[in-house]
């Protein structure tokens, strides 16, 4: 190695050490096929959530590849932030990203105009040297592509907070080695539901989204106090769309252009690339549920581009919220369409023992300028059913489970609707503000809240101002193992049998209408892992 090469590498290593403190230290995400992992979470205390988010490159294992992606605090996706109405949330964003994914197989055009310009607006240089001042000026202003791709900020997508100042201001620019202190005042009447945070610096939003930079924000409120919902095992699922260069495992830093075929984007210069759709940073994770168990899923489509037509084989989705807005009553859906940024909250009721696919059915969503996606449209003419996202839900049998039965007419969850509001609890912020969930004062036995601590719950929820019929309650039976305070456990936690058995015992409802889960035609046995 000659002296020049040595000094060059030494300088690169030093810069990398400053700008990339986490690259070699970050824990890897789980391999595919593992049980779905729960995301780490932080929650407000005493009306305040004060937290720091570091953005830096992290090595992530996806299937048999090691990807180098920018992440929040080393996680793909970022941690869950839980707040309550009236809280203040303070986020310190620190940008420790470095340039990555820059293909060196072509010099950028030195004097390029914006591709949206027309031939008449750009003019032609009189010589290559004419371009030098322009290129130098772009570099000084930080407007070159590599500089733009590592400038960032945070958008609290869906939160009804100020868009100015140190709050949800998407015009803030945080360059590498810089930081920004955000402060958000959550309104006291903020609806309870799922939102999310992600970079929103104009010019690099998609690029950083393709790295999976995203994280859930959950506003907890009245709907979470509804006993039937509070009782359920909650899962937060974040679907990411990772666009990865085949040769370097990094998100390409190129001028992105749409293409045809399975990978809908390429760049200038062109590089071979692939797309991965992960759930909580995992490919094809297994999601466990028990026969008869109900689970509350909060699902975020954090894909920058892909709408997900979400299905679970042989199971309906009982939607209770959309985009952070709780519904007045559950809505039974055979599937859900989630475009980029959409969140859906729904309840899944475990059916017969078996193994079922959770997947996004392929359809033609069009491209920029193409048709608007619709869930009523048939799949594209290409193979009838191809999977963009797949995880597996397995039903298991065990003894001692605690089972919550879905109400007879699924009408036990009732909102209080003030004048001007609608029962849908959807579509607009004003509607959302008018829809509140209340619980009746009828006391019941102590039960565990979501985090495992004992609390006093009510056995039913009734509307405070509406005149709907008093609801039927969910009934629970069985026993649950004791859980240390502060430990988050599945609602029906415990050990699983080593293999699934179609004839195994199930968490049966105590009475009333039985859910319509059909017998599985794919009941099989496969090894499972022990639960926590």
């Amino acid at each position: 190695m000659d002296r020049r090469a040595f000094l060059t590498r030494l300088t690169a290593a030093a810069l990398g050490g400053v700008l990339l403190p986490r690259s070699a230290m970050a824990p890897a995400a789980d391999a595919d096929g593992d049980r779905l992992r729960d995301l780490p979470e932080v929650r407000s205390a005493g009306g305040l959530l004060d937290y720091r988010l570091d953005m830096a490159a992290t090595q992530v294992h996806v299937r048999d590849r090691v990807l180098t992606l920018d992440t929040y605090n080393g996680g793909l996706p970022g941690p869950i932030l839980r707040v309550r109405p009236g809280d203040r949330m303070r986020l310190l964003l620190r940008n420790r990203m470095r340039p990555m994914g820059i293909p060196l197989n072509k010099l950028p055009p030195l004097c390029a105009a914006h591709p949206g310009d027309t031939a008449g607006t750009t003019g032609h240089p009189h010589g290559t040297l004419d371009c030098v001042p322009s290129a130098a000026g772009n570099m000084l202003r930080g407007h070159t592509l590599p500089q733009t791709m590592i400038a960032t900020n945070i958008h609290t997508h869906g939160l009804q907070v100020s868009p100015e100042g140190v709050a949800d201001n998407v015009f803030v620019r945080v360059d590498p080695l810089g930081s920004h202190q955000y402060s958000y005042d959550i309104p006291a009447d903020h609806p309870a539901g799922m939102h999310w945070y992600h970079p929103h610096f104009h010019g690099s939003t998609s690029h950083q989204g393709w790295a999976g930079l995203s994280g859930p924000i959950i506003v907890e409120g009245d709907i979470d106090q509804v006993p039937e919902i509070a009782e359920m095992r909650e899962r937060v699922l974040v679907a990411n769309e990772l666009w990865i260069g085949d040769d370097n495992g990094e998100v390409p830093t190129t001028l992105v252009i749409p293409t045809g075929g399975p990978v809908p984007f390429n760049g200038i210069p062109a590089i071979p690339s692939s797309m991965y759709f992960t759930i909580n940073g995992q490919l094809l994770p297994e999601i466990t549920i028990r026969p008869g168990e109900t689970q509350r899923w909060r699902f975020l489509n954090a894909s920058p581009h892909r709408a997900l037509w979400l299905h679970i084989d042989e199971h309906d989705l009982h939607q209770i919220g959309q985009d952070g807005i709780p519904f007045a009553t559950p809505r039974r859906r055979p599937n859900l369409m989630l475009t980029s940024g959409n969140r859906a909250e729904f309840i899944v009721h475990g059916g017969q023992p078996g193994r079922y696919r959770v997947y996004a059915q392929r359809y033609d969503q069009g491209h920029p300028g193409g048709p608007v996606p619709t869930s009523s449209s048939p799949p594209s003419s290409s193979p009838a059913r191809q999977l963009l996202v797949e995880s597996r839900t397995s039903w298991s049998s065990r003894r001692g489970c605690r089972t919550c039965r879905w109400p007879a007419a699924a009408h036990s969850l009732s909102p209080a609707t003030s004048p001007g509001g609608t029962a849908s609890g959807f579509d607009s912020s004003s509607t959302a503000r008018n829809t509140t969930w209340t619980a009746s004062t009828k006391k019941s036995k102590p039960a565990r809240s979501r985090n495992g601590r004992s609390s006093t719950r009510t056995s039913s929820s009734t509307p405070s101002t509406s005149t709907s019929t008093p609801s039927k309650s969910l009934t629970c039976k069985g026993s649950r193992p004791a859980t240390p305070p502060g430990t988050r456990t599945p609602r029906c936690g415990g050990t699983y049998s080593g293999y699934l058995r179609a004839a195994g015992s199930r968490c049966a409802p105590t009475s009333g209408r039985t859910r319509s889960a059909r017998p599985s035609t794919t009941a099989t046995s496969f090894p499972t892992r022990t639960t926590a």
């Binding site: 690169a12 299937r63 990555m100 994914g101 820059i102 293909p103 060196l104 197989n105 072509k106 010099l107 030195l110 004097c111 390029a112 105009a113 591709p115 027309t118 031939a119 750009t122 003019g123 032609h124 240089p125 290559t128 371009c131 990865i244 260069g245 040769d247 370097n248 990094e250 252009i257 749409p258 293409t259 045809g260 075929g261 990978v263 200038i268 210069p269 062109a270 071979p272 692939s274 797309m275 991965y276 490919l283 094809l284 193994r355 997947y359 069009g366 300028g369 193409g370 048709p371 594209s380 003419s381 290409s382 191809q386 999977l387 963009l388 996202v389 797949e390 794919t522 009941a523 099989t524």
Partner: protein, 181 residues
């Protein structure tokens, strides 16, 4: 005769095993992931020699020896005909033809062509014609496609305004790909 029975029995067993393996519940098909374009360097009408908005300051990109290059062009009613004749030459950059800088020539072979549906996305076209090439050797290589029928207005081809009404892309073959460490 006995051998024939044995052969039929073996074939029957093989077919049964094959079909049961395909239909086995819980078989892992990988979920169709990742989505991949077969490790291709994909070029489109937006990615060609000397687009007008590059203002003459373009340089051909490099690809490794043996690279798969895929060209996607809007088509129907326009059809594209590969041009491998002497008229297929690199476009000038900074008033120079790149072959002056690198006189070696790589080899390009068209090995597949197909179409993708593209109805209603690019005005005046309904499909995307896909051409798959292998490039080998070391040096400059140019891929050219001519429209049939010929057109003078690039927008009739679904091309950006200001671009030539035919397709030319030049690459330098045989250069290993590098990225920022």
């Amino acid at each position: 005769m006995r051998r024939r029975y044995l052969a039929i029995a073996a074939l029957t067993v093989l077919l049964l095993c094959t079909s049961s393996a395909v239909a086995a519940p819980g078989s892992d098909d990988g979920g169709g992931q990742p989505l991949t374009n077969g490790h291709a360097y994909v070029f489109t009408q937006q990615q060609r020699d000397n687009l007008f908005w590059w203002n003459g300051t373009w340089m051909p990109q490099t690809v490794p020896n043996g690279a798969h290059i895929q060209v996607q062009l809007p088509s129907d009613p326009i059809h594209w005909i590969p041009d491998t004749g002497p008229t297929c030459q690199p476009s000038p950059t900074a008033d120079l033809v790149p072959t002056w800088l690198l006189p070696l020539r790589g080899r390009v072979d068209l090995y597949d062509r197909s179409t993708l549906p593209n109805e209603g996305r690019i005005t005046g076209t309904s499909t995307i014609s896909v051409f798959d090439y292998h490039v080998t050797g070391l040096g400059i290589t140019t891929i050219c496609l001519r429209p049939d029928p010929p057109a003078t207005d690039p927008e009739l081809l679904g091309f950006p305004a200001g671009t030539p009404p035919f397709y030319v892309v030049t690459v330098i073959v045989g250069v290993p790909q590098l990225t920022v460490p």
